[in-house]
Symmetry: C2
Subunit: 430 residues, 2 copies
């Protein structure tokens, strides 16, 4: 790399969330002048705004990206390993189903802590500046100009060599790319909403087994719980908006939980359950697809801005982090030449991000149709058996997606092939 | 209708194109105060901007809408009836295939004249004002406020009871609705582009039979020609962009036409063909779908803004005009109550506009795959035969779509049923 060349190029990253701040680390390492524009105030000094889910499942792809900028160990240190799913049946019976081999696990990570650490890491680079409280109002991808609005409320034009939109599912950068010729786009909300609840510590310890991702599969309803470092769990209840709308009183909520998730009531606590349930309305989930992630050599989309996906494969953050890693690999290959890297990023990465989007949506529709605890356990046992018999031929889809960097679209092709092999259409994926 | 009530309500229509100006007539008749904001200057005094296709096929749905505001006769008077398709084979053989019975025909209409007439018609209402050269910059559907920019370049806020987005395939109003919760959206460009060419009059008369829609079906390439009142024809050549890109020189173009459309060369003229071919680049075609056409009782989308469709069923304008008529019928039914009419418009109309969108796209993919002149003639003859044998049971899809107001989605259902009946999957639709 010719650093004298790239040192003078400046990059504007829109959004200082998880993908924006990680991406800034990658680009800072390459000696670019990097400016992050983040609409919110610095979350390290102000209250962290609720909105997205509290905790996330970090797996192999995300870890590899963190590793490339030297942050893996630090992040993993406060992650809580989840080595298996813990399936809660309606009767209260619990069954553990390992995610893979003994060394394979996913990590429950606090979104807030991770974002804070990434911002602190990025600010260690002298060639990075984070502009908090700066909202993008306009973006001219063809000119490499952005208009930002800071605290002084005076719109300011900034010229840059590259605009990187890491501004999430409702990306402003993307709305400007959408006006470009031949840019295909879709956004789709699913009929389910989600709501977060909490299981507090019990006698100073975790109220359930900590090293598991707890799942209550109930066909069209589903609840999951991930452990936090403060010994609480964060539960996420997924169900159709129309079902949420039926629960209008405390009585309705308690009856509903008594019917579908009875073992969770003493864990959450009746009073807290009712209180939390009515604290915020159920949140919607959107799936966004773009036919391209770039415009010429001036503008790029990454993470949710490029491909917001539904959360049913736990790959949203991991896919976004892998975007950064893939782009970094292309920058190596093409010697930091934006005019080569940007088109190649779209060509290479779009099929993979579409594949994980489709898989996540497939998990959603399958789950909605017929995932109950008995079915789930049965499916997983079949997979484990097949994998045990033919370890190199049959690799569960979940393993390929979660514990490898096999390209997402290749994992799907291999999965199709395996399904043909076993003549069984319902190999599980959750 | 209580006119004292509605007289005070004001409606802002964004876009003074075909659908916007027709819609203004409907709403003016109901005594609303109507303001049209049109970004371009008045096309009756300035040069008509090229961009969209020059002529259009007006059929039953569009005519019914014009009739409801008393404009049908005037528009039909300068339309040129096309009673049949004229299929041009590669060898130069021409075969006429009627569209329906002797009394059924479609009309070739000049977009420019139609738009001018609609604007003149709308300005006859004292309660309508057309603001030319006024661009919508922002829109707050929840507040009923729009910000427009006139010639003075000073943004002006306007408050209104209803905002109607008739601002076309790249609608600005729609970009604001897209940010509303649970609004699903997709835009898709097709790989084909189109280019307009011209067949001038010959010895003062039409160079081909005038009362036909001329078609040169050549699988992935297709050309059509519609007659104009000045005795010329406007040809539209459809082909994949990648094929357009191969034709770089005059020689390439002439060779291409010699190979695929030899009979058209003397009609267009070699010199004009080459000149027109390189005048403008091929234009793209977009298909836009929305899951809803309204926001609360404040904002509505109609025409291309709600459902831009590919042009392969000739229903774009007709569907947009029928939108206006359907909304008018709902206003009758619900006594001008926006809070009833708007949700009902989405509920009722979305399935129909999705159906005509799908049919148009289906025509496109079928055409691309295997529409040549022999196939086309064969299909149409089968349909005519079936319709002759069972006139009330078997109605060609084309007839239902073009010569009736059978709801588009019901036409599709009936078509499915007919296809099952004849056990023949390829009933034609062009």
């Amino acid at each position: 790399m010719d650093s004298s060349d790239t040192q003078r190029k400046n990059i504007a990253i829109i959004g200082g969330g998880l993908v924006g701040s990680l991406n800034a680390c990658f680009l800072a390492k390459r000696n670019f002048q990097v400016d992050i524009y983040e609409a919110r105030e610095d979350i390290r000094v102000t209250k962290f705004a609720r909105g997205r889910s509290i905790n996330l499942a970090l797996s192999y792809r995300g870890r590899q990206a963190l590793k490339a900028v030297g942050l893996e160990d630090q992040v993993v240190a406060y992650g809580i390993p989840m080595r298996a799913r813990m399936i809660h049946s309606l009767s209260g019976k619990k069954s553990a189903i390992p995610y893979g081999t003994k060394s394979q696990y996913i990590l429950s990570i606090s979104r807030e802590n991770l974002n804070k650490d990434l911002l602190t890491a990025v600010e260690k680079y002298s060639n990075v500046k984070v502009h908090f409280g700066h909202k993008l109002v306009k973006c001219y991808p063809e000119k490499g100009v952005i208009t930002v609005l800071g605290q002084d409320k005076v719109p300011k034009d900034v010229t840059c060599d590259l605009i990187v939109g890491c501004d999430g599912a409702f990306s402003t950068v993307r709305t400007h790319l959408m006006k470009k010729p031949r840019f295909d786009y879709s956004q789709q909300y699913i009929p389910h909403g989600y709501m977060e609840l909490s299981i507090p510590p019990k006698n100073g310890d975790y109220a359930m087994e900590p090293n598991y991702l707890h799942i209550w599969p109930r066909d069209t309803f589903m609840m999951i719980a991930l452990p936090n470092t403060n010994k609480s769990f964060t539960c996420t209840l997924f169900m159709p908006f129309e079902e949420f709308e039926k629960l209008l009183t405390s009585r309705d909520v308690l009856d509903f939980f008594q019917k579908y998730f009875p073992d969770s009531i003493p864990l959450i606590g009746k009073q807290a359950l009712v209180q939390d349930f009515f604290l915020l309305p159920a949140q919607s989930m959107i799936s966004v697809k773009c036919s391209s992630f770039h415009f010429k050599s001036h503008c790029l989309l990454m993470g949710d801005a490029a491909h917001a996906i539904v959360p049913f494969f736990g790959q949203g953050m991991n896919a976004g982090f892998e975007d950064c890693l893939v782009f970094d690999e292309l920058m190596d290959k093409f010697n930091n030449d934006f005019s080569m890297c940007l088109p190649e990023f779209s060509r290479f990465r779009v099929p993979d991000d579409h594949a994980i989007s489709d898989l996540s949506m497939y998990n959603y529709t399958e789950m909605r149709a017929h995932v109950n605890s008995r079915w789930f356990i049965f499916q997983k046992n079949i997979e484990r058996l097949l994998h045990a018999i033919m370890p190199s031929t049959f690799i569960p889809l979940y393993t390929m997606v979660t514990f490898s960097r096999i390209r997402y679209h290749e994992a799907v092709l291999h999965w199709y092939w395996q399904k043909k092999l076993q003549k069984h259409p319902d190999q599980a994926y959750l």
